[in-house]
Every structure is written in structure tokens, then in C-alpha cells.
């Protein structure tokens, strides 16, 4: 990992622009910003073309001989398959409304991180090869040749976009840079120019069922570890089931929740909830990933990974599917899954076995978000909750980009938080809900080597957290996203020390009063609960 700069150094930037035109400013690929190139073996594992080891910092990217042809042919192909792509190449008026809405621009001041300009990097190529005016007038029409330097520049900036869609909220035509980034990354993928932080998890997920590469026995031992902790905390031994045929519900979580701190605490919350409800559910080691790094690679790869969820639901004969807390996972499940791998006519319209509520909003896709499920339970008084166990926490909620701008899951998690915590404060209005600011690590950019980029990109979010931290003493950043749970601890330590990152179901697990449990003296992190039994000496 590159050595981290000091805060003051990171915040030196202004929003000035260079005196030279952007086309005359060559790309400078900086360590700390770029992610390592994909290893050949990870691309080969899923049969991607032009697999090889390469490094973005090298002069020679070992491009295939006919790279230009591949790129332009790939572009033509996608222009004819996606109206969004063609339209977004054509209709931008460069009004600049999106310019200062990007967290990477706010955090870096690099004008090529303005969404409009990031898109222009590709539009200039589009104009040159796909429009008459670009062919005739060249640069005067904003067109430029596709050269190796241009390719490198495109690559560098398209891996500085987290596909968060914030720019799209403010664009008068709804131009979505995420959509353009997705297309650009498909093109890079044709040339073997993926990044390893995406290619590795994709290969893992394809072969082993999840991004982090947990084999079935490891999943079991990780869960066993959580069950031990739950027993210590609640006095109850839980027995979840795996790969069980005939269960009513298949539960799919992001694999981050099965893997590491603090995601595992969220997972413990899920398990405790299901145990308390006596839910007839099972988890799968084969479809052990709700997230989808294929989505950051190509539409086809995303579909290939996503296919496992319905395939497993069919094999196990469940009635419907419940999904855990994860951001891009829900963009994919909400907007893509049914189209790719549906119709899920072998499943039933989801109904909560506890409340009888029909989840009519999921009647086709048959997959329900766990906060929809849990909010419904609480609304119908099906859970006994003791929010005072979370009284030492002052909570704010971070809307993850995808559930807010690709779904609209805003009130469900807030409702749960309102019932399991007594101290809650919203961040400023311009930074939440559909205007939420990205963690800066989404879309597969949560690697270690690009930590400077992540800190910069996460700065606007952290700045809003700092505001409520200073004003109300907020010490917990709640969220419904596995990438948030991985990204925020480092981000908070750097920008707003003293703020912990917690999934909503971790907070729920703490407040949940389970039948026959012992008096809680520990929270799910096995830390003493202040004011409950044993006092902390730390």
C-alpha cells in the first residue's frame, strides 16, 4: 500500500482548471490513485479475452495488435445495443450542473473527474469515429483520435468513477455517468485491461461462489465462529441450515458479511433475527454471494454470476428469496436480475410467514430486501426490542448509492433504526437520500493500492459525518452495504476518528430481545454494554 499522505496534503486542492485545454493535458497515472492491473490467470478463469499480466504504471500495456479495432468495434456494438449509451453520447449540452456533484472531483479537484469531462473523454472518441461532424471538423467539433495515450487516460479516469449515479440525479437529461463508465469498462475488458481487485473477486465468485473466495468448509467455520460469539452473548446456540432442500426461504447475503469484521456483526444480527422468528430458511454455499463484481466488468459477466441465485433457489425448491444488506447487490437485483435470469416462475410471490404481508413490490423478481422484511416485522410488533442497549451509540445513517439511486430504499432502514436506537441524527440534507455521497470505494475500487483515491473520494461523505460528529456527538455510521462496512472503518479512522461503522442488522441484533436469552452484558462485538451488568473499564 502506498504511504498515506497527511490530511492537510490531501486537502490542498482547489477547484481551479489548468490553462491548457483538457485535450492538451496528458494523463499522469499516479500511484495511490490507480488500481493494479488484472492478473492473467483471473481473466482466464472466466474466459476473458487478452488475458495477461500487465501494470498500469508501465509504458507498455502489452495491448493486442488490433486493440483500436477491438475498442471501436466494441463501441459500435454497444451503441446499437444500449439506447442509454447512444443517447448519453449525443445529448449532453455541457451545462456543468454535474461538475461539482462527483465525490472524486470534490476530493481531488482534478477537472477530469467532473462527470461531464469524464464522459467527454469518451465522447471525443465517439465523435471522431461515429459522427459526421467529428469526422469532418475534428478537434473543432470536440473530436480526437483514439491513441494509446487517450486509451490510458480513459482507463485512468473510468477507474476513478464508482458508478454511484449522483451526477445523474442533477443532470437535466438524466445522463448517467455510471452507464458510460459501465460501457467503458466493458471496452477495457475486451482488451484485458481490467483491474485485479475486480478480476480476482469475479474469478473467485465464478468458481467458489463468492467474491472473497470462501470454500464451503470455510463458510461453515466462519459461521461457527459467529455462533460461538452469539452463544456467549445471548446464551443461545443457534443452528442455521445450509444448502437445505425444501426450506421456505433462501437467504443470500453479501459474502463480506460472512468474512470479516465489521460485516460479521451484521451477519450475526441476521442469524439472531431468523432464529428468534423460527424462520424456515436456508443459506447456500454455492450461491454465497449477493454482490456482483461482474457488474463492474461486463453485463455478460454480471449475468453469469447472478445466475447462481435463481439456479440455487430452483435446486433447493424454496418459495422465495431474501437478500442481505448490500448496495450494488440491490441495484443488480432490483434493476437487472429478473431481466437477465428470469422469469422466476418457479418461485412464489413473497409473503412474510410471520406477518402475512405480501411483498407485492417484489412479485415478479421474488426477492425481498431484508430491511423491507424487518421493517414489516417491527411495524406489526412481531419483535421485542430494547433500544436502550444502543444508548451509548449516537447514530447517523449513510444511504448507499445504489439502494438510494437505483432502488429508492430510504425509509425502510431508517424505520428500523428508529426502533432499535434512541439517538439518531441525520447528516445535512444535501448529503443523504438521493443526494447521498459515495463512500469513494464502490464499483470494485476498494483496493489497498489506491487508498489515496479512496480517501479523497470518501472525503465529502466523511465531511458530512464530521459535521454530525462535532454537532451531536455521532459515533456510529449505520449503513446497508457490505462495501461500506469494508470501506468506512479506514475512511473514518482517517477523517473522523471515533466513528464506528455498523450494519443496520447489527444494531437490530443488539436491541433484539430473544426468547430465553441471558441478560445481555455484551454487544455483538463482544464489548461490554455500558450500564448493563459489567461496567467497562476501558
Amino acid at each position: 500500500m502506498a504511504k498515506l499522505p497527511k490530511k492537510e496534503e490531501l486537502l490542498q486542492h482547489k477547484y481551479d482548471v489548468p490553462s491548457d485545454a483538457w485535450m492538451d493535458t496528458p494523463v499522469d497515472i499516479k500511484p495511490g490513485v490507480f488500481c493494479y492491473g488484472a492478473k492473467g490467470k483471473n481473466l482466464e478463469a472466466v474466459g476473458f479475452p487478452n488475458a495477461r499480466d500487465w501494470s498500469p504504471s508501465d509504458e507498455d500495456w502489452k495491448l493486442p495488435e488490433n486493440w483500436k479495432e477491438i475498442f471501436l468495434q466494441g463501441m459500435a456494438d454497444r451503441l446499437s445495443k444500449y439506447r442509454s449509451f447512444r443517447l448519453f453520447m449525443d445529448v449532453c449540452v455541457r451545462c456543468g450542473a454535474c461538475a461539482d456533484k462527483c465525490h472524486f472531483y470534490m476530493g481531488s479537484g482534478d477537472p477530469k473527474n467532473m462527470p461531464v469531462l469524464r464522459a467527454e473523454l469518451l465522447r471525443s472518441v465517439y465523435r471522431r469515429y461515429f459522427t459526421k461532424s467529428g469526422q469532418m471538423f475534428g478537434r473543432l467539433a470536440g473530436a480526437r483520435d483514439l491513441t494509446e495515450d487517450v486509451l490510458k487516460e480513459l482507463w485512468y479516469y473510468f477507474y476513478q468513477c464508482t458508478e454511484c449515479r449522483r451526477c445523474s440525479v442533477f443532470c437535466p437529461y438524466g445522463i448517467d455517468q455510471a452507464e458510460i463508465t459501465i460501457m467503458g469498462r466493458e471496452l477495457f475488458n475486451l482488451l484485458g485491461l481490467n483491474i485485479d481487485w475486480i478480476a480476482g473477486p469475479v474469478a473467485n465468485c465464478y468458481m467458489k461462489g463468492n467474491h472473497v473466495g470462501l470454500e464451503p468448509q470455510t463458510i461453515m467455520s466462519n459461521i461457527e465462529f459467529m455462533l460461538d460469539d452469539i452463544e456467549t452473548i445471548t446464551g443461545k446456540r443457534i443452528k442455521p441450515s445450509f444448502n437445505r432442500k425444501g426450506a421456505e426461504i433462501l437467504f443470500v447475503a453479501p459474502s463480506g458479511d460472512l468474512f470479516a469484521d465489521p460485516g460479521i456483526y451484521t451477519c450475526m444480527g441476521y442469524l439472531m433475527l431468523f432464529e428468534q422468528l423460527g424462520l424456515d430458511y436456508t443459506m447456500s454455499t454455492y450461491a454465497s454471494e449477493g454482490g456482483n463484481f461482474g457488474f463492474f466488468t461486463s453485463n455478460e459477466m454480471a449475468k453469469r454470476l447472478n445466475a447462481k441465485i435463481y439456479a440455487e433457489a430452483r435446486r433447493l425448491g424454496v418459495k422465495w428469496i431474501l437478500g442481505g444488506e448490500c448496495g450494488h447487490m440491490w441495484r443488480v437485483l432490483n434493476q437487472y436480475m429478473d431481466t437477465w435470469n428470469g422469469p422466476a416462475d418457479f418461485l412464489e410471490e413473497p409473503v412474510s410467514p410471520i406477518t402475512g404481508t405480501k411483498f407485492t413490490n417484489a412479485k415478479s423478481t421474488k426477492m425481498v430486501h431484508i430491511t423491507e422484511f424487518t421493517a414489516d416485522l417491527i411495524y406489526h410488533n412481531k419483535l421485542k426490542l430494547d433500544p436502550s442497549r444502543n444508548d451509548h451509540l449516537v447514530v447517523t445513517f449513510h444511504d448507499s448509492c445504489n439502494p438510494s439511486r437505483g432502488m429508492g430504499l430510504l425509509e425502510e432502514p431508517r424505520y428500523i433504526i428508529s426502533k432499535v436506537c434512541n439517538n439518531f441524527h441525520e447528516m445535512p440534507e444535501e448529503t443523504i437520500r438521493e443526494k447521498t455521497l459515495c463512500c469513494g470505494s464502490g464499483s470494485g475500487l476498494n483496493a489497498g493500492e489506491n487508498m489515496e483515491l479512496r480517501l479523497r473520494g470518501g472525503f465529502p461523505r466523511a465531511n458530512a459525518v464530521k459535521y454530525v460528529h462535532d454537532k451531536y456527538g455521532v459515533n456510529v455510521l449505520a449503513n446497508v452495504c457490505a462495501v461500506d462496512r469494508v470501506a468506512f472503518p479506514a475512511l473514518m479512522d482517517y477523517w473522523v476518528p471515533g466513528v464506528q461503522t455498523m450494519g443496520v442488522h447489527e444494531l437490530l441484533g443488539n436491541a433484539l430481545v430473544m426468547d430465553g436469552e441471558i441478560e445481555r452484558t455484551l454487544n455483538l462485538r463482544s464489548e461490554p454494554l455500558p450500564g448493563k451488568g459489567v461496567e467497562s473499564d476501558v
Binding site: L11, K14, Y15, D16, V17, K81, R86, L87, D90, V91, V93, R94, G96, A97, D100, M114, V116, K132, L140, A141, G142, F170, C171, P172, Y173, G174, D176, E179, M207, E215, P216, S221, F242, N243, K245, Y286, R304, A307, K308, A311, E312, L333, T339, W340, G342, N361, A362, S364, T365, A375, Y379, S404, M407, L409, E411, Y415, E430, F459, P460, Y467
Partner: protein, 329 residues
């Protein structure tokens, strides 16, 4: 360079008409041929562009949601900003097209020391709205030259537009607003460094062309005062396909006409096509109902997957050891 070349093109275009009419007396060319060709290019070009966009399908349901989804019955959905029905989408599009809803959200990010602040920034929204609405009113007012008798709503609109009752002929408010809004849009492009940095010739040119159209129109109405009867004779001739240029109309009229012709002929090949594109934007014109109703991708195809059988074959021993159920023992 981008600004000056754009300005130069506008001046050259206007000079064509001036020289052509005043010195070469090519009134038929500039009064009839050019407008006809321009209008034809506009019509065919506009259709071509929209059809061309339409040919690319919308494979996925990708609305940008800007409010609460339809979920549990007791959670209040934002039916406009996150529509789940066609009516919600219509509402969203109406707000977007007539009131520029998304642009109304605009904020300005300011960095002071180590913190960010988001200030209000409604001027772009306001300037854009004033320009587009003024333009619409001006275009509708011009129907008086193409319809006989002049419809009541056109006359009504003219009355409203001139309610200040200033000057002879009466001053239209939208004439002033149009020029002011265009000037604002032009100046922000020149004066705000970030906007200047992203601007192309294709951004300056339409603004200057529109300003040229507005200025020649205003000069013609308020200062040079061309023969309106002769103008109407020409314009009515154009729409009834019996065009004649009878009387002398001043060169300023032909300058106005050639700039308008250039604008409409340029329209389909330029960013001005956002006027058609906004209707087709999949992030705005789709309902967020993809979990309720399956969205079909016309080019969806079979993909290679890693099946459970392959997975179990690879991990069978390990799975057996931890007691996981197996398909094949």
C-alpha cells in the same frame, strides 16, 4: 478560438444574406430556397436522429430513483421522483420537461479550508427556464406569419407578452428576456473557468446563432421596421407551397431568415437535439417497477455459467466433511 470562430460563422452567415439580397438581389434564393432546404433538413434530420436512438433498445430498467420506492403499504412512496406506474413517469417527465426539475436541485460545492459546503445555485435553472419559455412564446407568436386567420391563442399570447404597453410597435417582454437569458448563458460559459474549460465550439455556436436570430429579429421589429404585409405574403406563400417574393423587404429580414434557417438546419446534428433526447432518457422515462414487472431485454442471450453440479464435483469431499447435504454421495 472556439468563441471567435463561432462568432465568425454567425457573421458570415448573416453577411451572405445581406450581400445576396442588397447587392446580388437573390431574394428567391434567400427568401424561398434556403428556408425550404433548411426546414427539410430539420424535419428529416430530427426524425432520423430520433429513429436512430429508437433503434437501440433499452435492455434494462435503469431509472435513477430520486425518492422513496413503492414498498410496504405504510411507507409513503414518492410517486413522482420514484415512479412505479406510467402516470408517475408522466408526472416526472412533465416536471422535467416543463420545469427542469433535475436542474432545480443544483447546488454549488464550496471548499473552505478542510470542509465542504453546499450552497444554493438556482441561476442556471432560472436562466435556462427563462430562455426556453421565452423561446417557446416567441415561436408561438411567429405563428401569426404562418396562419391565416391568426388563431385566438396567438393573439392572446401577444397581448400578454406586450402587456407593458411600451413603445411602437409594442414591446414584447419575451424579446428582452430571450436576449438576457442567452447573454447570461453565454457569459457563464465564458466567465466561469470550469465551464469554459469543458466548453466546445459546439456550445458557443448555438448560443451566438440564437443571439443573432434574436438581435436581427428585434432590429427588424423595433428599428428597421420592415413591411409586415410583404413578409406575411412571403411566409404564407411558403406554407401554402406557392411562394413568391413580391415587394421589397429589407435585408435585415433576410439576415434573420438565414440565421433561423441555419439554426434549424444545424439543430438535428447538434447538442440541440437534447430537445428530442430528453423524452427518451431511460434514467427518467422508466418506472422503477422492475421487481414487480419483468423488463425484457430483446437481445438477452444464454451465457456460460458455473453450475452447482460442477461446484459440488469440485468441493464434494470438503462439503461432506462439514456435513453439508450433497446431490451425489
Amino acid at each position: 478560438m472556439k468563441i471567435w470562430s463561432s462568432l465568425l460563422v454567425v457573421i458570415i452567415l448573416a453577411s451572405f444574406a445581406w450581400i445576396g439580397v442588397d447587392f446580388l438581389h437573390l431574394t428567391t434564393l434567400f427568401g424561398i430556397v434556403v428556408p425550404y432546404i433548411a426546414f427539410l433538413i430539420f424535419l428529416l434530420g430530427f426524425i432520423y436522429r430520433v429513429v436512430n436512438w429508437g433503434k437501440s433498445p433499452v435492455p434494462f430498467c435503469i431509472p435513477t430513483t430520486c425518492g422513496q420506492q413503492q414498498s410496504l403499504p405504510w411507507i409513503k412512496q414518492n410517486k413522482i421522483e420514484n415512479p412505479s406506474t406510467i402516470w408517475g413517469v408522466v408526472g416526472r417527465m412533465v416536471l422535467e420537461i416543463f420545469l427542469f426539475r433535475s436542474l432545480f436541485r443544483n447546488t454549488k460545492t464550496e471548499k473552505t479550508g478542510n470542509s465542504l459546503a453546499f450552497g444554493s445555485a438556482k441561476w442556471l435553472w432560472f436562466g435556462g427556464l427563462v430562455f426556453h419559455w421565452s423561446m417557446l412564446v416567441v415561436v408561438i407568436r411567429h405563428l401569426r406569419f404562418f396562419l391565416n386567420p391568426v388563431p385566438g391563442f396567438v393573439q392572446g399570447l401577444e397581448m400578454l407578452d406586450s402587456f407593458l404597453q411600451v413603445g411602437v410597435p409594442l414591446l414584447y417582454i419575451t424579446d428582452i428576456l430571450l436576449v438576457l437569458a442567452l447573454t447570461y448563458l453565454f457569459l457563464r460559459r465564458v466567465l466561469i473557468p470550469q465551464i469554459k474549460y469543458i466548453s466546445l465550439a459546439a456550445d458557443y455556436f448555438p448560443l451566438l446563432l440564437l443571439l443573432g436570430v434574436a438581435v436581427t429579429g428585434i432590429l427588424m421589429r423595433y428599428f428597421f421596421k420592415v413591411d409586415l404585409l410583404a413578409v406575411k405574403e412571403l411566409t404564407m406563400g411558403l406554407v401554402t407551397f406557392t411562394p413568391t417574393v413580391s415587394a421589397e423587404i429589407g435585408a435585415i429580414f433576410y439576415m434573420h431568415v438565414i440565421l433561423v434557417s441555419s439554426l434549424v438546419a444545424y439543430f438535428p446534428w447538434s447538442k440541440l437535439m437534447h430537445a428530442g433526447g430528453i423524452f427518451m432518457s431511460p434514467t427518467r422515462n422508466l418506472a422503477n417497477n422492475s421487481r414487480m414487472v419483468r423488463h425484457v431485454n430483446p437481445w438477452n442471450y444464454q451465457v456460460e455459467t458455473h453450475s452447482y453440479t460442477e461446484y459440488e464435483d469440485e468441493f464434494r469431499d470438503k462439503m461432506r466433511k462439514v456435513g453439508l447435504p450433497l446431490e451425489k454421495e
